[in-house]
């Protein structure tokens, strides 16, 4: 017999979908204005027309997912303070470098109307288009599928925990995916971005409820931290086991690599003007501060304070259940708990939908349209897009169905270093004109080859190197060094190519008129 509360939790997914539906319908109405002119640019990038309020929530959605909401506090308690602290260090580098890099990605994207992250890379390279598109699309697609699976796991796990296991993990996995796909099919990226605003407001309210409740329960921030710190479990939680160089490379290498994280790049393309990039960036950072810093530190501390003196932690299928369990123990089946459930659904949806679109665009745009140059009729193209989106979502579900599979576990370790291998040569090429197609091609190739060798063959144990540095450090360093060496040993890229890439001719026209 399923309880009323469990039915209400399932209904929360439908309620969330219904109150974001007007935004999706509005997106569909506006989409009609642009879709005939440039189908892919509209469906995957919203024709680069998003204002700063929308971009703020879209950027926030790119980094905040169920992991921040329930994963980070859980890791804080189960793996130790240091793993959460490293995630915070990454933002220290990302925040100041964001505008430096994002504006230089935004400029060519507006001039040339890019659809995928691969577009900017192959355009800047100026050659080897088909092999580069295929290699990069496959690597990004693989990493993205694993990433979506990673987000599905805590989402479905926590919703199951909130129902006390009455509704199964698999049921929630399917329900949440159907809701996400419905939004995507209604209005593509534009619907995703518009509903991000409502979803963002929902999860910020949920974070607020959690923070407020924790502070009130313990009588203040200081008291909460002190209570948490003086528990038995805290002795283990606050001991640092990783060497300083691991923290240092998380700060400098992992942090910088997130400036070119593929599902963020498409959101930079979608910004209407520079103010949308700059102000959207600022407000999304405020959101991160609440969602990725304040909320995890307080929820983790509350969990420690509540359960830290028990002989052992309460049993859980996935550690991400802990924060939900904490609030359920305090609040029971209540309105406040329901707000937290809605927040969880909102935050899970926001990242997954954009990533499903990214995955589909890599297959449809990069591989079918650009690399293989398939001619697809306008009539067939809508069905092909939907089919690929469905395939992407299904593959991610397969990852989430068996999170303990060795291929999935080792794949997680591969995802973020793979993003770093793509990010560094690309960012170098954006700032150093001497980088050419040979350098980029061999840079990516050696980067991926070394990543596969280090991860699966030479050092199969984490951190996949003997120096105690972050997993992506060596492969991305190799990719960057090879990019530079090969570029300087071979002829520079033609001046005309760089001028065309950056739109220099037009820039000169404008400045001369002035």
């Amino acid at each position: 017999m399923v309880s009323t509360w469990s039915i209400l939790v399932v209904a929360a997914v439908a309620i969330f979908f219904l109150y974001t539906l007007p935004a999706a319908i509005l997106a569909r109405t506006r989409m009609r204005r642009y879709i005939e002119k440039a189908y892919h640019y509209e469906f995957y990038i919203a024709s680069g027309t998003l204002m700063w309020v929308t971009t703020a929530f879209a950027y926030m959605a790119a980094y905040m997912e169920a992991w921040e909401f329930v994963g980070m506090p859980a890791v804080f308690v189960s793996e130790g303070f240091e793993w959460w602290f490293m995630e915070m260090l990454f933002y220290l580098t990302w925040v100041p470098l964001w505008l430096l890099v994002s504006l230089r990605i935004w400029r060519p994207s507006k001039i040339h109307r890019y659809v995928t992250p691969t577009d900017i890379i192959v355009h800047r390279a100026g050659g080897y288009e088909a092999p580069l598109r295929i290699i990069l699309a496959i690597i990004i697609f693989y990493a993205t599928i694993l990433y979506i699976g990673m987000i599905y796991i805590p989402t479905a796990g926590v919703l199951t925990a909130v129902t006390g296991g009455e509704i199964s993990y698999h049921t929630f996995l399917i329900i949440v995916t159907i809701m996400i796909l419905a939004t995507i099919f209604i209005g593509g990226f534009r619907a995703v971005a518009y509903t991000d605003v409502i979803a963002g407001a929902t999860f910020l309210i949920a974070f607020g409820v959690m923070i407020y409740f924790v502070v009130v329960h313990y009588g203040g921030f200081g008291q909460l931290i002190d209570t948490a710190y003086n528990t038995e479990l805290a002795k283990k939680v606050f001991t640092i086991y990783n060497p300083p160089q691991y923290f240092l490379t998380m700060l400098l290498i992992y942090g910088s690599s997130w400036l070119f994280i593929p599902h963020l790049i498409t959101k930079i393309y979608a910004a209407k003007d520079y103010k949308s990039v700059v102000l959207g960036g600022l407000f999304s950072k405020i959101g991160f501060l609440i969602g990725a810093f304040l909320s995890p530190i307080m929820v983790a501390s509350a969990f420690l304070a509540q359960y830290g003196n028990l002989p052992e932690l309460p049993p859980a299928t996935v550690v991400e259940e802990y924060p939900a369990r904490l609030f359920f123990d305090w609040l029971g089946p209540s309105i406040l708990m329901y707000v937290i459930v809605l927040g969880l659904i909102a935050i899970s949806r926001t990242t997954v939908d954009a990533m499903i679109l990214l995955g589909a665009s890599l297959i449809e745009w990069d591989i079918l349209q650009r690399a293989l140059k398939l001619k697809i009729s306008p009539r067939a193209r809508g069905w092909i897009t939907r089919g690929i989106i469905l395939l992407t979502a299904t593959l991610a579900i397969l990852v989430a169905l068996d999170p303990e599979h060795p291929m999935v576990i080792i794949g997680f370790e591969f995802t973020f270093p793979a993003y770093a291998v793509i990010a560094f040569p690309t960012m170098i090429a954006l700032f150093i004109d001497r980088v050419n197609k040979y350098g980029l091609f061999w840079g990516y190739l050696t980067g991926f080859a070394s990543l596969i060798l280090f991860t699966y063959v030479i050092w199969p144990e984490a951190p996949h190197n003997p120096f105690g540095v972050w997993e992506g450090t060596l492969p991305s360093a190799i990719a960057s060094i090879i990019t530079l060496i090969v570029s300087y040993l071979t002829p520079p890229p033609p001046k005309e190519h760089l001028e065309e890439f950056w739109g220099i001719k037009k820039e000169l026209e404008i400045t001369q008129r002035a």
Binding site: F85, V95, P96, Y229, F247, T511
Partner: protein
């Protein structure tokens, strides 16, 4: 008119970094030194409720410091970027009108 203005803004984002952007790298070096120092301290101190930083147990105090630096860097840098880009665009527009 609006499209023309938008186009102008796109081409006036400099492709090379502004001079002030190079200072960000000095800030990153300072961050790296700070991280190395504080992580070593955290390793040495371990769990110890007596050692405090910013009024909190040491590790939590350092985490708070990270949060403060993170917020300040966003709040300081955004107006600088907005000012520098807007100034450039305003000047060019004014000259074109003349």
């Amino acid at each position: 008119m609006s499209e023309e203005r938008e186009e102008l803004e796109v081409y006036l984002i400099p492709r090379k970094p502004w001079r002030f952007e190079y200072y960000i790298f000095i800030y990153l070096i300072a961050l790296a030194v700070m991280t190395y120092y504080f992580v070593n301290e955290m390793i040495e101190i371990g769990w110890n409720p007596e050692v405090r930083f910013l009024g909190l147990p040491y590790q939590m105090g350092i985490a708070l410091l990270v949060g403060i630096i993170w917020a300040l860097s966003a709040i300081i840098l955004t107006p600088i970027y907005l000012y520098v880009i807007s100034k450039r665009i305003r000047e060019v527009k004014r000259n074109i009108r003349r």
